[in-house]
Amino acid sequence: MPGLPPYASFTQKIWYYAFRVICGIVFFFLIAPIIVIVPLSFNAEDFFTFTPEMLALEPDGYSLKHYNDFFTNPDWQQAMWNSIRIAPMATLLSVSFGTLAAIGLSQPHVPFRRALMAILISPMIVPLIISAAGMYFFYSRVGLQGSYWGVVLAHAALGIPFVIITVTATLVGFDRSLTRAAANLGANPVTTFAKVQMPLILPGVISGGLFAFITSFDEVVVVLFVGSAGQKTLPWQMFTGLREQISPTILAVATILVTISAILLATIEILRRRSERLRGMSPG
């Protein structure tokens, strides 16, 4: 951010500082509620508030008991394993179908590509509760309601838009003469895809996959409709936990989820920089 130029007028100076204050407030409202959870999750008491001991930074005020509860309580463990079984499978489906759809829709000769794109992206735009209700009725008819595959398919549908958007974005910068060159050099379409196109759009595929994973991992509305007790995921357990037992274990779980999300997002950023370097867009 450049400094204030010497010729700035009075209003410009006011705006210059006001802009910084506004940015600070925005960040505060976005991040503070998340940050505050982290120390609270180490609370030695079963309260959602800071105890005097915690504020005085006394070691007695902190404990890992809520984490302990999370890793030993069968309800939480069941929920965690359900999430771990559902999210990767949903991600796999999202990535496979989303990548194929993005590649197909980036071909200029595909008819109705705009309309198709809009339909595929709609789960991201349509209010979740509406998608969830729709899926509930549809899955009940075809016998998927309350099943593992029902939840996986529903989450895959929610994740596909992310994959389509990120992969389409990488394909915009993709030089079509590279696939022609590969064909000209003797590679059949499958080899061309595997050796030339896929490695170059991989960053988009992976970041789309991470978004899809997080979507599934954090999702509560659809799973409440489509799932049954057997598919109770972490967010679902947190939701019921909040309503029924108000245990700070939720804060421990939230901290873990925030950490996972942060790590995944950092991974995305590292991958993006790596791909830019590979394409020679920024000096290595």
């Binding site: 064909a183 000209n184 050099l185 590679a187 030339v196 020679g280």
Partner: protein, 366 residues
């Protein structure tokens, strides 16, 4: 179907037409035979259909009508990856995620050539373009000229018999371009490969090729060796596209022994060679090269017609003088004279008489 393959028709276009939208033809009735080992250039302005022809040969576009034969076999139904034709792309199309050596090994890998042989061939190809030490680099770490060499090496590494080049030197600076022109022609002749080269740069076409096909409006306007193309253009498009030419419009007065007299629109009469005119009274565009104009009356034929010309400006260009004159009402008549002791300097404002040998002045279609 074409005749059996001989040295003269390694690549054959037979009545090939191409239309992208089903209405307008981008390529209209193309017939062309390319000999084995020949360096043929497709030259033309953008939109003339030359690149489309190259793409049809590579297999990235399909011919709407007609047949393309490679070594006697029709290739319309063969996908690009089974044609075994090398190609240098306009933007080089090097794979950015692979090193130079991996780029070169790619065509060998997909042909399932063993590792040892592969490495040997990659090494030889890199040496051939004097890039031996660059195998471990990525394309983004190379300059434009170096990338160009790698693209060339990659197109040649699997030893194709036919190599296509789509304006490969367009992005290089002038000096490098001239150097690469020389290297590419040398390599092509040394290896005995057939080359089809597409460019819109006429100097490139003239200096590199065995034969040049001048494209315009989806047709070959003339197919000839560079010197023939320059000296004996068959129509007014070729005359104006290749090199510099002075053109004058007029009407054919008389035709005799292959020569004709033309009365210009401004009233003067000149001598010309009847190239593309058939009858007295035809409209014609006569064209004369700037370096073939003669001021010295003693060197002209007896009874030759001459034109009055007023010198407008004389530009010193080092080895030549470029003089702009007003001739027959036109102010863009250009004459080039060598910077030699025996040549008279022309000064602005001077009125002189000029003429030419009828052989040097060609009466073409108007």
């Amino acid at each position: 179907m074409g005749a059996s393959p001989t040295a003269d028709n390694f690549v054959v276009f037979e009545k090939v037409q191409k239309s992208y939208d089903g209405e307008t033809l981008v390529v209209k009735d193309l017939n062309l035979s390319i000999g084995k080992g020949e360096f043929l250039t497709m030259l033309g302005p953008s939109g003339s259909g030359k690149t489309t022809c190259l793409m049809m040969l590579a297999g990235f576009e399909t011919a709407t009508h007609g047949e393309i034969l490679l070594d006697g076999k029709p290739i319309n139904n063969i996908p690009p990856h089974k044609r075994g034709i090398g190609m240098v792309f306009q933007n080089y199309a090097l794979f950015p995620h692979m090193t130079v050596a991996e780029n070169l090994a790619f065509p060998l890998e997909v042909r399932k050539i063993g590792k040892a042989e592969r490495e040997e061939k990659v090494r030889r190809a890199l040496d051939m373009v004097q890039m031996g030490e660059f195998g471990g680099r990525r394309p983004a770490q190379l300059s434009g000229g170096q990338q160009q060499r790698i693209a060339l090496a990659r197109a040649l590494v699997f030893e194709p018999e036919l190599v296509l080049m789509d304006e490969p030197l367009g992005a290089l600076d002038k000096q490098l371009r001239e150097h690469m022109q020389f290297e590419i022609t040398n390599l092509a002749h040394e290896l005995g490969i057939t080359t089809v080269y597409v460019t819109h740069d006429q100097t490139e076409a003239l200096t590199m090729s065995d034969r040049v096909a001048v494209f315009d409006d989806g047709r070959i306007q003339q197919l000839a060796a560079p010197d023939v193309l320059y000296e004996e253009p068959e129509n007014s498009f070729v005359a104006q596209f290749i090199g510099e030419n002075n053109t004058l419009l007029g009407k054919v007065e008389s035709i005799r022994d292959g020569n004709c007299t033309v009365s210009l629109d401004s009233g003067e009469t000149i001598d010309a060679k009847a190239v593309n005119v058939s009858a007295v009274g035809d409209r014609t565009l006569v064209s004369i090269r700037p370096e073939r104009v003669e001021f010295n009356k003693s060197r002209l034929m007896e009874g030759a017609h001459t034109l009055k010309a007023e010198v407008l400006e004389c530009i010193y260009m080092g080895d030549v003088f470029r003089t702009r004159l007003r001739v027959a009402g036109k102010e863009d008549f250009v004459v080039k004279t060598r910077n030699a002791p025996d040549q008279a300097r022309l000064e602005a404002g001077k009125v002189i008489e000029l003429g030419w040998l009828p052989d040097d002045c060609r009466a073409l279609d108007a």
